[in-house]
C-alpha cells in the first residue's frame, strides 16, 4: 500500500459512507481539528459529515528529518461524523479493512485518551487506537468547542497517515516509505522538512513574528466584530501558528506562554460564538435533511 493509495482509499471509503470529501484547508494549522470545517462545523445541532487530508504543521516537533517518526510537517486524515452514528466504531474498523488491515490478524485496541486543546477551548473524550502497539488513530467524541458544549456530538477520527503507512509497508522510517511509483516520502519531503526546521528553530525573526501576531490579532478582532467570522477565524489560525513558531524558537517564557494561549483562545472563542449565532439566525439550514 503506497502512501498515495492509502489516502485515495480513505477518500473513497468515506465518500461511499456519506461524507463530503473536502480539500485541505489553505491556512497553516497544527491539526485537521483546527480547520474551520471541523472547528466551526462542530458547533450547533446541524449534521455534518466530512473527510479530508489536512497537511499539518507543528514547528516544535521537527527533528531536521533525522528522526524516523517525528516531523514538523505531516498529513493527517480527518473524518468528522456529526452526530456520531451508533456504528461509528464499526465504520472505522471497516476503513482499516479497506486498507488491507484485518483486525483479527492484528492487535487493535482502544486505549483511553481524552483530548484537550486550550487555544480552541475544546475538549473531547475518546481513545488512541493501537495496532500491534503503535498508535495509528485518534478517536474523539467532541464534548466542547470554543468553550461551548457541543449540541450534537461529533465523532472525530484522525488517522496518522505516515504511522499507518510505515506499518503497512513494514518500513522503520517514514523517510523510506514509498509515496508512489518508487518515489519515497523522503524524496518528496526531506529537503522541505530540513529547511523548515532551520527556519523554525534557528532563523525565524522573533520580533517580526511578534509584530505579525499583534497585527493579525488586531485584524481578527476588528473583522469578527463586523460579523466576518470566516476571515476572522483564518487570522486566529495565523496567530496560532505564529505562536507555535515563537515557541519552537524558544523565545516564549512561561508567563508569556499563558498570555499567548489566552489571546488565541479569545479570538477563536469570539469566532465560535459568532458562527453559532449566525447559523442560529439562519435557522440552522442543514437541519432540513435531518
Amino acid at each position: 500500500m503506497t502512501f498515495q493509495n492509502l489516502l485515495i482509499t480513505l477518500e473513497r471509503y468515506w465518500a461511499e459512507r456519506g461524507c463530503l470529501v473536502m480539500q485541505p484547508y489553505d491556512v497553516e494549522v497544527g491539526a485537521g481539528t483546527n480547520a474551520p470545517t471541523t472547528t466551526l462545523r462542530a458547533l450547533g445541532p446541524e449534521p455534518w459529515n466530512v473527510a479530508y487530508v489536512q497537511p499539518s504543521r507543528r514547528p516544535a516537533d521537527g527533528r531536521y528529518a533525522n528522526n524516523p517518526m517525528r516531523m514538523q510537517h505531516y498529513y493527517q486524515y480527518q473524518v468528522i461524523l456529526k452526530p456520531s452514528p451508533d456504528n461509528v466504531v464499526d465504520l472505522y474498523l471497516g476503513s482499516l479493512r479497506a486498507l488491507g488491515i484485518s483486525p483479527e490478524e492484528h492487535d487493535i485496541r482502544f486505549v483511553e485518551d481524552d483530548w484537550e486543546a486550550p487555544p480552541l477551548g475544546a475538549q473531547g473524550v475518546g481513545w488512541e487506537v493501537w495496532m500491534d502497539g503503535t498508535e495509528i488513530t485518534q478517536f474523539t467524541y467532541f464534548q466542547q468547542m470554543g468553550g461551548v458544549e457541543c449540541a450534537a456530538v461529533c465523532a472525530e477520527i484522525t488517522y496518522g497517515t505516515e504511522r499507518l503507512c510505515t506499518c503497512l509497508q513494514g518500513v522503520d522510517s517514514v523517510w523510506d516509505m514509498e509515496w508512489a511509483h518508487g518515489v519515497t516520502y523522503g524524496d518528496v519531503e526531506r529537503d522541505s522538512e530540513r529547511q523548515h526546521c532551520s527556519y523554525n528553530f534557528d532563523e525565524a525573526d522573533v520580533d517580526a513574528l511578534s509584530r505579525m501576531f499583534a497585527a493579525y490579532e488586531g485584524e481578527s478582532h476588528r473583522i469578527a466584530d463586523q460579523g466576518l467570522v470566516f476571515p476572522a477565524f483564518d487570522l486566529a489560525l495565523k496567530c496560532s501558528h505564529l505562536f507555535n513558531l515563537l515557541d519552537a524558537r524558544g523565545s516564549v517564557s512561561v508567563t508569556e506562554r499563558a498570555v499567548f494561549i489566552n489571546r488565541v483562545r479569545a479570538m477563536s472563542r469570539k469566532c465560535c460564538l459568532a458562527y453559532l449565532r449566525q447559523r442560529e439566525e439562519a435557522g440552522f439550514p442543514l437541519l432540513r435533511g435531518a
Binding site: P68, P83, E105, D107, I108, R109, F110, E112, G133
Partner: protein, 727 residues
C-alpha cells in the same frame, strides 16, 4: 428459581474505570432486588472493556403479594350521620383501589380514623425489574462522563446494547434509547456477529465460545500464568507490577500473552528508563533473570487468540525498539552536560501562575532547606547535603528524558547525579524527595530525603494556601491533599520536626524572600491546620483509633501548633489508656473543669501563632516554652487570696506538676504525662465538693476560675478531654 443476567454493552471503557463499575453494579443490583422483594441467593458482577455483566442466582420469577394498611380521613368525615360512607371515604377507597365497604375504623392518639387494607399484587420479575435496572445503569459513577450522538445521556462511553433475562424471559430495561433484549455480541474481532441467548444460564458459556472471558479474576490468572510460562522459557521471571497487570486485565476480553525480543544494545540504558518505557508507553511487562537484571525480552498481552501472533509480535518489537531508540537518543543527549546545567531551563517551566516558575520554586527550596534543617536539629554534613539536594532536585525536569517520561522525575535526577560523581546521599535524596508517591508508597529512607520531601510539599501547600486555593469536596486538582498526606506520613516518624504552623511560616518566608510575595500568614496557617487535621484524623482512623480520642488529641496539646508526631502519639496513648478503669473518672474531672470555665465564659485564650524564634531549638527549648506558658497561667491566680484549704492544696499540686508536665510533654512520654495529670483528679474533686466555684463574691469567683483555668491548661497539654465520649 430462575437466574437474572443483565449485560450492559458499551464501546471500550477506560481500563481504570471498570473495576469500580463492576463492584458498584453488583451492590446496586443486590440492593434493588431486595428492595423489590426479589432477593437473590447470590449476586456476582463481571466486566471487560466492552461490557458489564451482573448475574443474580435464584431470583423469584414473581414478586410475592404484600398487604399494607393506609390511614384515611377521620371517621367523622368518612361517615354520615346514617353511618353510610361520605364522598371523602368513597374517594379515598377508590384511590386505594378497595371497596368503600372494606374500610375499617381505627383509634389513634389523634382520634378515630378510617383505614384501608391494600394488597399490592406482586408483578412478574421481568416487569418489576425493568425500571430499577435501568436506574442502576445510570447510577454508576465514573471518573469522567461523555455524551454521544444527539442524545442527552452522559456515560463513561456510549452504550450500544443491553441484554436482560430472567430465566428465559426478557426484562425490557430501557436506557439511552436502547431497550434490552436477548441479543449479545462476542469479541469485537473474533466473533463480531450478534447472537441470541435463549436463557440466562446460557450467556457466560456462549460468550466464552465467542472469545469473551467475563471474569476479570480469570483473565488476571490467565495473563499471570501465560507470562510466567513465557518468562520461564528463557530462564527468567516477571517482576509483577499489580497496577500494570490490572490495566492489562481491563484492556482485553480474551488475553493471549506473547514474548518479544529487545535488542541487547538497549539494555545499557538505566533500568527505570527501560521499565517505564515498556510500562507507560506500551503496557508491556519486563522480564528479569535470576540475578535480577533485565533480560532482552518483554511480555505483552494481546486482545485475542494465538492466530497471527507473529504479526503482533513483530509490530510490538518494532514500536518498542523505536521507543528505546528515542530514549537512547535522549539519554545520550542529556549526558552531554552535567545535571546542574539543566537548572538554567527551569525558568521555562511554570509551577503556578501566581507562584512563579520551577526556577523560583528551586530557589525557595534552597532558602527553606537551611532553616528547616536547623529547626529539625539537622546539622553538619547532612545539613550541607540537604542544601545541595535542594538546589539540584528539580533540575531533571528539564532533561529530555523526563520531558519524554514524566514518571521518571527524580529517578533520572538520581541517575544523572550519580553518573556525574555526586555525593550518593545527595543523589538519593533527589529521587526520594518525591516519596511517598502515593499513600501506599514508602517514605524516603534517608533523613535528607525526608527533609527535602517535607520542604517541597510545604512549599506547594503554603503557596496554594497563600493564594487562597485549597481542596474542596471531591475536587483537588492540584493534589494538595496528597501532598499533605505525604507530609503526615513522613512527620509521623519525626519527633524533631516543628509543627505545621512553623513549617508554613518558614515556607511563607521563602515566598517572601524569593518571589517578594507576602501572604496573610494567619489565614494560611488556619487553612493548612484544617487540611492537616483532616489528614491526621484519616490516618489515625485507618489505624483503628476512636474518633473522639483523635479529636481530643487534635484540639489539645502542649504547643499552639499541630506537631504531627506529638499529636499522633497523644492520640495513640489515649487509645491505649481508654480501657483503664481510672480513665473515665480522669476524663470526667478534666471535662468538668473545662465545662465550668466554658459556662463562665472564661475559657483560657490559647496563645496565637508562635513567633519565628519559637521555631528554632530542640526539646530543651520546648520544655522551657511549656514551663513559661504554664507559669503564665499559674500567675493569673492570686495565691494570697486562696482562703479555702482545698484551693491551696489544688494550687500547690498543680504548681508542683508544672516542670514534670513540661518534661513529660517535651519527651513525648504521654503515659507519664497522663499519670502526673491523674494526680490532680483528687484535689480537683475535693475542691468541687468543698466550695462553690461560682461564688457570689466577684473577686473570689474570679480567683477560683483562674485556678481552674490554670489546672485546665495542664490537662490540655495531653488532650481536650471534653471531646472524649464517655459511654
Amino acid at each position: 428459581m430462575p437466574k437474572l443476567v443483565f449485560e450492559i454493552g458499551t464501546e471500550e471503557m477506560p481500563a481504570g474505570a471498570i473495576g469500580s463499575a463492576i463492584e458498584q453494579l453488583r451492590a446496586s443490583v443486590e440492593g434493588l432486588l431486595a428492595e423489590r422483594r426479589l432477593p437473590a441467593s447470590a449476586v456476582t458482577a463481571y466486566g471487560t472493556p466492552r461490557r458489564l455483566v451482573v448475574v443474580a442466582e435464584d431470583v423469584p420469577a414473581h414478586q410475592p403479594d404484600v398487604t399494607r394498611e393506609v390511614k384515611g380521613p377521620s371517621a367523622q368525615a368518612a361517615f354520615g350521620a346514617d353511618g353510610a360512607p361520605t364522598g371523602a371515604a368513597i374517594g379515598f377507597a377508590r384511590k386505594q383501589g378497595v371497596p368503600a365497604e372494606s374500610l375499617v375504623r381505627i383509634e389513634t392518639p389523634q382520634g378515630t380514623y378510617v383505614q384501608a387494607t391494600v394488597v399490592d399484587k406482586g408483578k412478574p420479575a421481568t416487569e418489576a425489574l425493568a425500571a430499577p435496572l435501568g436506574a442502576a445503569v445510570t447510577s454508576l459513577t465514573f471518573p469522567k462522563l461523555m455524551r454521544w450522538g444527539s442524545g442527552g445521556i452522559r456515560y463513561v462511553r456510549p452504550i450500544r446494547w443491553l441484554l436482560a433475562l430472567v430465566g428465559s424471559e426478557v426484562c425490557p430495561v430501557q436506557v439511552a434509547g436502547i431497550t434490552a433484549g436477548r441479543v449479545s455480541r462476542g469479541h469485537r474481532y473474533l466473533a463480531p456477529d450478534e447472537f441470541e441467548v435463549a436463557d440466562a444460564d446460557a450467556l457466560p458459556p456462549l460468550l466464552r465460545e465467542r472469545f469473551v472471558m467475563l471474569d476479570p479474576a480469570e483473565r488476571r490468572a490467565a495473563i499471570r500464568a501465560q507470562a510466567e510460562a513465557l518468562a520461564a522459557e528463557v530462564g527468567g521471571r516477571v517482576p509483577w507490577d499489580e497496577e500494570l497487570l490490572d490495566e492489562n486485565v481491563f484492556l482485553v476480553e480474551w488475553p493471549t500473552a506473547l514474548r518479544g525480543a529487545i535488542e541487547e544494545r538497549f539494555l545499557t540504558l538505566p533500568r527505570p528508563v527501560l521499565v517505564t518505557a515498556m510500562k507507560k508507553h506500551q503496557r508491556f511487562f519486563p522480564v528479569e533473570g535470576a540475578d535480577g537484571a533485565l533480560l532482552p525480552c518483554f511480555v505483552s498481552v494481546r486482545n485475542g487468540g494465538s492466530d497471527h501472533l507473529d504479526t503482533v509480535r513483530a509490530g510490538n518489537e518494532r514500536v518498542l525498539a523505536a521507543r528505546f531508540a528515542d530514549a537512547a537518543f535522549f539519554h545520550a543527549d542529556d549526558q552531554k552536560q552535567p545535571l546542574v546545567r539543566f537548572i538554567d531551563n527551569l525558568d521555562r517551566l511554570l509551577f503556578q501562575e501566581k507562584l512563579g516558575t520551577l526556577a523560583e520554586k528551586r530557589r525557595r527550596l534552597q532558602a527553606l532547606a537551611g532553616p528547616l534543617a536547623d529547626a529539625a536539629g539537622m546539622s553538619g554534613a547532612d545539613r550541607e547535603r540537604a542544601l545541595q539536594a535542594a538546589g539540584l532536585c528539580k533540575a531533571d525536569l528539564t532533561t529530555r528524558m523526563v520531558i519524554e517520561l514524566p514518571a521518571l522525575q527524580g529517578i533520572i535526577g538520581r541517575e544523572y547525579a550519580l553518573a556525574g560523581g555526586a555525593d550518593p546521599a545527595v543523589a538519593h535524596a533527589i529521587a526520594e524527595h518525591y516519596m511517598p508517591r502515593s499513600s501506599g508508597d514508602a517514605i524516603p529512607a534517608s533523613p535528607v530525603g525526608r527533609l527535602l520531601a517535607v520542604a517541597d510539599r510545604m512549599d506547594t501547600l503554603a503557596g496554594y494556601a497563600g493564594i487562597g486555593i485549597m481542596p474542596s469536596g471531591s475536587s483537588d486538582p492540584f493534589g494538595l491533599r496528597r501532598a499533605a498526606q505525604g507530609v503526615v506520613q513522613i512527620l509521623a516518624g519525626e519527633p524533631a520536626m516543628p509543627g505545621i504552623s512553623e513549617l508554613a511560616i518558614l515556607a511563607a518566608d521563602a515566598y517572601h524572600r524569593v518571589n517578594g510575595l507576602t501572604f496573610d500568614v494567619e489565614a494560611l496557617c488556619a487553612a493548612l491546620r484544617g487540611l492537616f487535621e483532616q489528614r491526621i484524623t484519616g490516618t489515625l482512623l485507618e489505624r483503628g483509633l476512636r474518633h473522639d480520642l483523635v479529636a481530643a488529641a487534635l484540639s489539645g496539646g502542649p504547643s499552639s501548633t499541630t506537631i504531627v508526631y506529638c499529636t499522633m502519639r497523644r492520640a495513640e496513648t489515649l487509645q491505649k489508656l481508654c480501657a483503664r478503669p481510672d480513665f473515665v473518672p480522669t476524663v470526667q474531672t478534666a471535662a468538668r473543669v473545662a465545662n465550668i470555665l466554658r459556662s463562665a465564659d472564661s475559657a483560657p485564650v490559647r496563645s496565637g501563632l508562635p513567633g519565628k524564634e519559637a521555631v528554632l531549638g530542640g526539646a530543651d527549648h520546648a520544655v522551657s516554652r511549656s514551663v513559661a506558658m504554664l507559669e503564665t497561667e499559674a500567675r493569673r491566680v492570686r495565691t494570697d487570696s486562696l482562703a479555702e484549704p482545698t484551693e491551696k492544696v489544688l494550687y500547690e499540686a498543680a504548681f508542683d506538676a508544672i516542670p514534670r508536665v513540661a518534661h513529660a510533654a517535651a519527651a513525648y512520654d504521654f503515659e507519664k504525662l497522663y499519670g502526673i495529670l491523674g494526680e490532680l483528679s483528687a484535689p480537683v474533686s475535693a475542691l468541687f465538693d468543698a466550695v462553690m466555684v461560682m461564688a457570689e463574691d466577684q473577686a473570689v469567683r474570679r480567683n477560683r476560675l483562674a485556678l481552674l483555668g490554670f489546672v485546665d491548661s495542664l490537662f490540655k497539654t495531653l488532650a481536650d478531654f471534653t471531646r472524649v465520649v464517655v459511654a
